[in-house]
């Protein structure tokens, strides 16, 4: 079954039409369907993550339901497109918690939307699985039911910084972000972190992603003596411009940074394929080819499944699809083991240890709501993209 955006919109249209005409739902009974509220940004400027994750999520839900559901209960995925807009995210989150009375919410998938929606979801006492990276989104006291099944900005930056300073041994660093929330937050967090591990940040700035000419900025980096460039942005155009400008300047320094450096969209915007040399992007161990060129068995099986389902991969990243695939399965396992009330779900999650996801092994505790393990964040060669997965960056033994 080919999952295209049209089918998704058609599907959610039917779903939405059916749901909107109904009355406000009563509280869930134990034999009712398991309702997962899903808040991706499928349209708008920050929709690439959402589109990718969405594919995996739908696939997992279909798979679980085809196998009979969870203890006989089917999963119902209730999707609301936030349109990359925090105001729509707030409306949609309220609709899911108040009207649709979902058991758990997966998302939102963009930081700005999550920052607005999370307090409201917490206020309504609905468990939330949030894959955004902004550090402040999890807080055991403020948001007791919010759990993160992805790394934090801190962890991501930490892995990249570690690679640059301790593995590549390049102490003079230039850090550049775009002017979005993600970009500015990253630069603000990572510069002090670099200083902590005794790196010398010779340049740092936030630059408008729409600026066609990054030469002045790169020249400034060069004249400050930077030995490595660390860009933080999910904007493929911005990242491609950095890569292209480095090539135009014939400046031989590595580029180490955001996962999107390795995406198909970035590749499409490069002047020459050779420009993609010496670009290392964050990625995740489960989606990387190890030293002997093999993927972990779990991932191999997953990729086979994707190929069989003819899932579109060339314009997105494997780990997005994997993340989307993991979420419903985690929820299914939770309900199977523990039940579907908020306390039951949160209770199970608080004691979760190394849950085997394709994307990563998730571990939570009462105090630790960030479930992704440090050592599963690795740097990969951006130009080694093959079947959605990458080769580890050089020097990366650990």
């Amino acid at each position: 079954m080919l999952i295209t955006r049209r089918r998704l919109i058609a599907g959610s249209a039917l779903g939405a039409a059916a749901l909107k005409t109904g009355f406000v739902r009563r509280a869930a009974a134990e034999t009712e369907t398991i309702r997962i509220g899903f808040l991706p940004a499928l349209t708008g400027p920050s929709s690439s993550t959402g589109i990718g994750i969405n594919r995996g999520t739908i696939m997992a839900v279909d798979e679980i339901n085809a196998a009979g559901g969870v203890n006989g209960r089917k999963i119902e995925l209730i999707t609301r497109d936030t349109q990359s807009d925090p105001t729509k995210a707030v409306n949609a989150a309220t609709e899911l918690t108040r009207r649709e009375k979902v058991h758990v919410i997966f998302g939102p998938l963009n930081s700005g939307e999550s920052l607005a929606a999370t307090p409201l979801i917490a206020r309504d006492g609905v468990p939330q699985l949030d894959p955004c990276w902004v550090d402040s989104l999890t807080d055991p006291k403020k948001y007791p039911l919010a759990f993160r099944n992805a790394p934090t900005n801190h962890q991501i930056g930490g892995a990249a910084n570690h690679y640059v300073v301790e593995i590549l041994k390049l102490p003079k660093v230039a850090v550049i972000g775009d002017t979005t929330g993600y970009g500015t937050a990253s630069v603000n967090t990572y510069v002090p972190m670099l200083a902590d591990i005794k790196a010398d940040v010779v340049y740092h700035a936030s630059v408008d992603a729409a600026n066609p000419d990054l030469k002045p900025e790169m020249l400034r980096m060069q004249s400050a003596g930077a030995q490595v460039i660390m860009p933080w942005s999910v904007n493929a155009g911005f990242l491609a411009r950095i890569i292209n400008t480095r090539a135009q300047m014939n400046w031989d320094v590595p580029i180490v940074g955001q996962t999107t450096l390795g995406s198909g969209q970035t590749k499409a915007l490069l002047d020459k394929p050779e420009n993609w040399e010496k670009v290392y992007a964050n990625n995740f161990r489960n989606c990387a080819y190890d030293a002997s060129g093999k993927l972990p068995p779990r991932t191999v099986a997953f990729v086979e499944k994707l190929k069989a389902a003819k899932l579109e991969m060339s314009d997105t990243l494997l780990w997005w699809i994997a993340l989307g695939y993991d979420a419903p399965r985690l929820i299914a396992d939770t309900v199977k083991a523990s039940g579907s009330s908020p306390d039951q779900i949160a209770g199970y999650w608080k004691t979760l240890k190394a849950w085997p996801g394709v994307y990563g092994d998730i571990t939570w505790s009462a105090d630790q709501r960030n479930g992704f393990p440090d050592d599963e964040i690795v740097m990969c060669r951006a130009n080694s993209l093959d079947g959605g997965a990458f080769k580890l960056a050089p020097g990366y033994a650990a």
Binding site: P86, P119, A185
Partner: protein, 604 residues
């Protein structure tokens, strides 16, 4: 302007006593119905619709103010989201304590309003100097600047990461409590803007939009009125921003999109310009619509744009026009205009004085062409002074110099020896100099009565704030202006059409309407620019009688005309212009037999 209590037909006939309860209810029922539904919403227990309704209230607080700018004053402020951003950040930063010690949310909200007022004034200032499209583009620029500043000033605004919104204390922290707060402010804004719409300021705004020249002649000072409107609109937008931040619970720069700005703007236009209820309904519709059409959510801005295009092309009056039943009643076909010259003395009883209006050696050129070249003219009180001449001889230019639209290159216009300020058209009204125009200047969408009431703008006593809050002085003003306008309409014979939309009138009726508007000033001097053009013979005769009656009460009338019979019938003196110079001046009898005049102009 057609939905305010003033213009209901029962109110018009019979003056003060006619504003019965029935008439007020007729105008108020949409608001009452909405208000009732809004207050009762919590009873449904549906908190999802509660959030949507709260959002609609917050948006309406902003749109109510913006309505005055866009719908009434006609300024195309597309980038008004800048003020929402400003208000949101101001309120959030002040309650979060990142730049100052943390303040109470209510105080922060008030300060957000003040900040909004100041920045609203700054954003609006270019409107005084720039053409429509230019101003639209500058507001877009402001919207971008404010967002950029929010992004850059990280220490205060949190930059891209953003900042938590204010949380109101006590009962207002609950969802319904906050809803009632927003509903209350929305109701307050509705009331205030409705008051303003039915005041001389509201009418002045619409006059600036549709008939700027006539507004100036009636003494409307465009800069002052616009500045007050921008202050008010900015203030409510700032408050709306604070409420918005609380609703979102957390704000980041990417929440303030261009789409939002477009939504506000389109809500006003769909609702209909010059209306309050129209944009209110428009805002509610546009806030609620995406919630019904989830699969179409991605296309929502596309649909709004399509809706806007349809409205502009097919229904420029918007929803307000759609619900305006009164103005669909057919009018009597063959209407006669019967002025009542005998009533003139009743309204102009204090006209006159001994001072003449004189032009001394006035000259004005346009790009090298001498429009007037050394003109001497004296208009005496109590006289009808005719000004005739071929096309291009400088007649209308003379009028424009006297009424201050053009400053002369040489010479001066004097009132009783004292020179009048050149080029200051809006000051003529206070000197009791009124005029009509070659092409009638009217506000098509407003009623005839409202058009005439504009003429008396400078006689209003209530301030902008008093009108907003419907203080007694405002109500007195309205009563006074309404009565005076009805009297003026009775004098020119149009009183039966007082409640009719002005653009439904025939051309000849519009000419008399302009005279009624001029009479509102109780003028000492009345300048008439070809008032007989397009009139039938009988109408011209009646016009003549009216003009004579006005002069006999003591006003000085300058009559620019082509109809020679009218001139020679009623004028006491006549001046003939040719190529900007005086060809001849004297009594009608002298002029009629003047050889040069006959050959240049009158014909044998």
């Amino acid at each position: 302007m057609t939905d305010t209590p003033v213009s209901s037909s029962a109110a018009i006939t019979g003056g003060a006593a006619g504003r019965g309860l029935a008439a007020r209810l007729e105008a108020l029922w949409p608001y009452l119905a909405l208000g009732l539904a809004a207050v009762a919403l919590p009873l449904s227990g549906d908190t999802y619709w509660g959030i949507i309704a709260t959002r609609a209230c917050v948006y309406w607080v902003l749109v109510a103010g913006l309505n005055l700018v866009v719908g009434f004053a006609g300024q195309i402020a597309i980038g008004w989201v800048a003020l929402l951003t400003l208000g949101a950040y101001t309120a959030s930063v002040l309650t979060a304590g990142t730049a100052t010690p943390a303040l109470s949310p209510f105080l922060a909200l008030i300060i957000a309003g003040v900040a909004g007022a100041i920045v609203g004034l700054i954003v609006g200032l270019p409107a005084l100097r720039l053409r429509t499209f230019y101003f639209a583009i500058t507001t877009l620029g402001f919207a971008t600047i404010v967002t950029q500043i929010a992004l850059a000033w990280q220490s205060v605004t949190g930059g891209g990461v953003g900042v938590p919104g204010p949380l109101f204390p006590g009962w207002f922290s609950s969802q319904w409590g906050f809803y009632y707060l927003c509903l209350g402010l929305a109701a307050l804004c509705t009331w205030m803007t409705a008051n303003l719409a039915a005041s001389r300021f509201g009418r002045a705004l619409v006059a600036i939009r549709d008939a700027e020249v006539a507004a100036e002649a009636s003494g409307v000072a465009k800069p002052a009125v616009l500045m007050m409107v921008f202050l008010f609109s900015g203030a409510v937008a700032g408050v709306a921003g604070g409420l918005f931040a609380s609703l979102q619970s957390y704000i980041t720069p990417d929440a303030f999109t261009f789409d939002l700005s477009v939504l506000f703007f389109i809500a006003i236009l769909i609702g209909g310009r010059g209306s309050i209820i129209g944009p209110l309904l428009g805002t509610i519709i546009l806030t609620v619509l995406p919630e019904f059409a989830a699969p179409l959510v991605a296309w929502s801005t596309f649909l709004y744009a399509a809706l806007l295009l349809l409205i502009v092309l097919l229904m420029p009056g918007g929803i307000a026009d759609l619900i305006d039943y009164k103005n669909r009643r057919p009018l009597e076909q063959h209407r006669d205009i019967v002025p009542r010259p005998e009533m003139v003395a009743g309204i102009l009883h204090q006209a006159g004085g001994n001072q003449s209006l004189t032009l001394d050696d006035v000259a004005l050129s346009f790009d090298g062409v001498h429009a007037i070249d050394g003109l001497d003219l004296e208009i005496r009180p109590g006289e009808v002074h005719g000004l005739i001449g071929p096309n291009g001889s400088g007649k209308t230019t003379t009028l424009n110099v006297i009424s201050g639209y053009n400053a002369p290159d040489r010479g001066a216009v004097r009132l009783g020896g004292e020179p009048l300020l050149p080029g200051a058209s809006h000051l003529r009204a206070s000197r009791r100099i009124a005029r009509t125009f070659q092409t009638p200047r009217l506000i098509g969408a407003a009623s005839v009565l409202e058009n005439v009431m504009i003429g008396g703008t400078i006689d209003g006593r209530a301030t902008f704030a008093e009108s907003l809050l419907s203080f007694p002085r405002h109500l007195q003003d309205e009563r006074m202006l309404r009565d005076a306008a009805m009297s003026a309409l009775a004098v020119v014979g149009l009183d039966a059409l007082a409640a009719v939309r002005a653009d439904r009138l025939q051309h000849s009726e519009l000419r008399f309407m302009e005279i009624a508007r001029a009479l509102m000033l109780r003028p000492n001097f009345l300048l008439l620019d070809e008032p007989a053009a397009g009139l039938s013979a009988e109408e011209i005769r009646r016009l003549g009688a009216l003009i004579v009656a006005i002069a006999r009460v003591g006003a000085g009338v300058l009559l620019v005309e082509h109809h020679a019979e009218l001139i020679f019938d009623i004028c006491d003196r006549v001046t003939v212009l040719n190529l900007g110079k005086v060809l001849a001046a004297g009594t009608p009898a002298q002029i009629r037999s003047h050889r040069e005049v006959v050959s240049a102009y009158l014909g044998a």
